[in-house]
């Protein structure tokens, strides 16, 4: 285990769609953040709205910085035994399993979770459903009852929960809040007589730990926050899992701030409208997932060709086609970097954590405006939906700088696509005096008029103008962690997987393996020099990715011409630390460590 001091526990809540599993986890993580903990949380849910699929909400609560979820949970709460039984094994020894021991229908032998709890785990059964019905006349508040029970069992501050519950239901009728508070109190009462036998301990944090500034955010929430701080003016969206919540957030926040928000009839019209708005000089964006990006590919090509700044957030899910809409994957990298017709070079940023989402989304407009091109912020379901505590910047560092007007060119010969030294052309927007011009998806000359002969020059311009982006100020394009100088194993990663990579690296170091890690945030164009320097220091390079082929490894190998070791997985779940660690051990030539020594000696019977 990693050598961390203080609190570091993970709670998993498992239920069926409709049980309120996710809402329960949501309250838990927000309350934990309010208590001053660092929180990472991730929900897994099925495509059906309220059908019968499995939902799991995992919340890691720590007093120190953490980078991913833990492999083992300390506490598992079952709201649906059928779904929770396969997860009992994820609970560590002397951890707790909380479940309903008062079912209403007969279950076959083996159908109740209590029959699956290992002797080293601690069972806590109570009448969750009955207490819920008693408190609120409905079984729907079971998810809140368990929170009360949890708060009582681990002595978590009640008022923080109550505040979050009140906040969460603030827009609902008063009775909804009252019922949920009743359910929470009923859970407290149910937990009050319980003797705690597990060894899961939550220490009180100094309120200053994270401070009141810390906010609980998802990757999608952070994207929306970054957009708002960057002064987004127009947003066009179409619902698609797992990007929808970006749209929903902006739908709430933009109108009061003077922004224009529209839900269009499809992704094709969403990107089209965004490109129109970008052309018209506003900060405009859309967000989608892989299938939507595929639809948008043609329109993105228009953005590249017409050199229109626009920001597209892409949250990846399992594919191809409709694929696994509620499962995470990093398999749209090729589409993001290469997708579309023709040589359509664009900028692709892939943040590695929630705070990164905030920074990349906020910075993306500036980059798009600087290079006059579409910028894709590539995240995935794991990052979109996972919660972390973030301290947002106090300043509006992403705000647009006042535009320096160009000199009017009254003769109608404004070279919107002028070939310049730095390959960036002067840009005017509709409404500016004397700078009128035409943009098009056809290949065009400096004036923007259709022209085939200039294609080579224009291609050069469109590619070369992006190269300096790897040094864009205010943006971490890549970063190295871990041991300095020469190391045995270097782990190269991108996107949401980097949290697990970092956790792995710390564990490997603790095992005595000389190890370093590098994250690459800008995937197109690639920061080749810093990656090359990293390669030079490492005996072995490992690239873990949640896709089948190793799309990033392919890109890196192509760019550097050096072989790397790949670790790929596509089971819908984030990469496990243990799997990466095993690979690191293998590459380092080190034998796996033996398991924990048994602290028991059997008494003579």
């Amino acid at each position: 285990m990693m050598n961390r001091t203080g609190t570091d526990i993970q709670i998993a809540i498992c239920g069926s769609a409709g049980d309120g599993t996710i809402a329960s986890g949501d309250i838990l993580k927000r309350a934990a953040a309010l208590m001053g903990f660092n929180v990472i949380a991730f929900d897994v849910y099925p495509p059906e709205i309220r059908g019968f699929g499995k939902c799991i909400s995992r919340v890691r609560i720590s007093s120190q910085q953490s980078y991913s979820l833990k492999q083992n949970s300390d506490v598992l709460i079952s709201l649906n035994d059928t779904h929770a039984i396969p997860h009992v094994g994820e609970v560590r020894d002397f951890g707790a399993v909380i479940y309903d021991d008062n079912l209403i229908a007969n279950v076959p032998e083996g159908g109740h979770i209590s029959g699956h709890i290992h002797p080293a785990q601690i069972p806590y059964g109570f009448s969750i459903r009955q207490i819920s019905e008693q408190a609120t006349n409905s079984a729907r508040s079971r998810n809140i009852v368990i929170l009360g029970y949890l708060a009582e069992l681990f002595d978590l501050p009640r008022e923080h929960f109550r505040k979050i519950i009140r906040d969460k239901f603030a827009t609902k009728p008063r009775a909804v809040t009252d019922d949920n508070i009743k359910a929470f109190n009923a859970g407290l009462l149910a937990g009050s007589g319980v003797f705690k036998l597990d060894d899961v301990v939550v220490q009180k944090v100094d309120a200053k730990g994270n401070g009141a500034d810390a906010e609980m955010m998802t990757g999608n929430g952070a994207v929306a926050r970054g957009f708002m701080e960057a002064g987004i003016q127009c947003y066009f969206g179409y619902p698609i899992t797992p990007a929808t919540s970006i749209m929903e957030r902006l739908a709430v926040e933009m109108p009061p701030a003077g922004g224009k928000f529209l839900q269009t009839e499809d992704e094709i019209s969403a990107i089209a409208a965004a490109i129109g708005a970008g052309y018209a000089g506003t900060r405009a964006a859309t967000a989608t997932s892989g299938p939507g990006l595929a639809l948008m590919a043609e329109m993105l090509g228009l953005g590249v060709m017409a050199e229109v700044p626009v920001v597209v957030v892409v949250s990846q899910r399992g594919g191809p086609s409709t694929g696994l809409p509620t499962k995470t994957e990093q398999s749209d990298l090729n589409l993001a970097v290469f997708g579309g017709s023709g040589d359509a070079q664009r900028i692709v940023l892939a943040p590695t954590n929630v705070e990164g989402c905030y920074r990349c989304a906020g910075r993306a407009f500036e980059i798009a405006e600087t290079y006059q091109t579409p910028v894709i912020v590539l995240i995935d379901l794991y990052l979109s939906n996972r919660y972390e505590t973030v301290i947002p910047s106090a300043h509006k560092q992403f705000a647009a700088k006042p535009r320096v007007p160009l000199a009017p060119n009254g003769d109608g010969a404004f070279k919107r696509f002028e070939l310049t030294e730095n390959n960036i052309s002067p840009r005017a927007i509709p409404g500016e005096e004397g700078l009128m011009h035409t943009v098009t998806g056809l290949e065009h000359n400096e004036l923007g008029r259709p022209n085939d002969a200039i294609h080579m020059d224009m291609n050069t311009k469109r590619h070369e103008k992006l190269k300096p982006a790897v040094n864009f100020p205010g943006l971490t394009v890549s970063k190295r962690f871990g041991d300095e100088g020469k190391v045995k194993v270097g782990i190269l990663g991108w996107g949401s997987t980097f949290g697990e990579i970092l956790e792995t690296m710390y564990e490997a170091q603790a095992e005595g393996i000389s190890c370093a890690a590098m994250k690459v945030v800008m995937l197109s164009p690639l920061p080749v020099e810093s990656i090359a320097a990293f390669f030079a220091d490492c005996d072995e390079i490992l690239v873990p990715e949640v896709n089948y082929e190793g799309q990033f490894a392919n890109i890196v190998c192509g760019a550097l011409g050096k072989p790397v070791s790949r670790l790929n997985q596509t089971n819908g779940a984030p990469m496990a630390v243990a799997d990466i660690l095993a690979e690191v051990r293998r590459l380092s030539g080190k034998k796996p460590k033996t398991g924990q020594s048994d602290t028991f000696t059997e008494a003579a019977l």
Binding site: G18, R50, E265
Partner: protein
């Protein structure tokens, strides 16, 4: 309604149901819609219609797009095709053109039909492909958890219209009437018997039949298209409504605040298959 209290005896009822045979059209697996969803009513309605028209399972293909309604084919023991969002009609057209002997039922929700798929409907309608298009209209996006749809009312609050929807809803009946659909009707999920009857009539029609079915989303719409509200507002088309009069149909279709149920318009004209046969005849120079 009979106010007399008559005792109900279960085994007699079950015998009736078994004798009726409509259970046979169901698949083994239970529908996964939210409990209370109006789509259950439609599933019942389609099974009754298929039974009444005595169409063999093997001759039926149910095609759908993406959305709650598009789960439909999974719950039937017929051929089914669950395609992509909004692309129901092109796929169904392909199936029907490939084999005219099949009974093709296209199903989808209001988002699938009138938003992303809106561009396809006029063409399916004017070509008069011999299929039935059942649009389950609940005025909301259920599968993505409650955003506004093209048929949502003005003032409707959803997660994407937190400050109220200001877009005027589409009028699918007037659209379809103007697109040239040869059979246009409207039914309501809460009147399950009438619904079954309407599906039967739609499927009996030779040509493109469009049936709009008003249905509540019990999970994400607690205010507008609820059973309670719809029960208050729906009513039958007048007895003397002339189904051959397009303008009368348009007039009736324009009454959106009190939706009328029944067959609005019916026109017997050549189907795509017939037209293709005619084209083939002309092309071969034998006509």
């Amino acid at each position: 309604m009979n106010e007399h209290v008559e005792p109900v005896y279960l085994e007699e009822k079950l015998e009736e149901i078994r004798a009726d045979g409509h259970q046979g059209y169901r698949s083994k697996s239970l529908p996964t819609w939210c409990p209370g969803c109006g789509y259950y009513s439609m599933a019942e309605g389609l099974t009754f219609a298929l039974r009444r028209l005595e169409i063999a399972y093997k001759d039926v293909v149910v095609v759908s797009g993406i959305g709650c309604a598009s789960r439909f084919p999974f719950f039937f023991k017929t051929y089914g095709f669950h395609t992509l969002h909004g692309r129901v009609l092109p796929v169904a057209t392909g199936v029907k053109i490939a084999n005219d002997a099949l009974t093709v039922v296209a199903v989808g929700g209001d988002g699938d039909a009138f938003a992303i798929g809106g561009g396809h409907i006029p063409h399916a309608a004017r070509r008069n492909i011999d299929m039935t298009y059942l649009v389950f209209d609940n005025g909301i996006y259920g599968l993505t958890k409650g955003q506004t749809s093209p048929t949502s009312a003005v003032g409707f609050k959803t997660s994407s219209t937190p400050y109220e929807n200001s877009d005027v809803p589409l009028n699918p009946l007037m659209m379809l009437l103007s697109y040239g659909a040869s059979w246009v009707g409207q039914a309501y999920a809460g009147h399950q018997h009438d619904l079954a009857d309407m599906i039967t009539q739609a499927m009996s029609h030779k040509g493109f039949s469009f049936l709009r079915i008003l249905s509540p989303c019990v999970t994400f719409d607690k205010t507008d298209n609820t059973y309670a509200n719809l029960n208050l507002h729906v009513h039958d088309l007048p007895q003397d409504h002339d189904t051959s009069n397009l303008m009368a149909a348009m007039q009736a279709a324009s009454q959106t605040d009190k939706p009328a149920l029944g067959v609005y318009f019916k026109d017997d004209r050549p189907t795509l298959a017939q037209a293709m046969n005619a084209t083939a005849t002309r092309a071969s120079g034998t006509g």
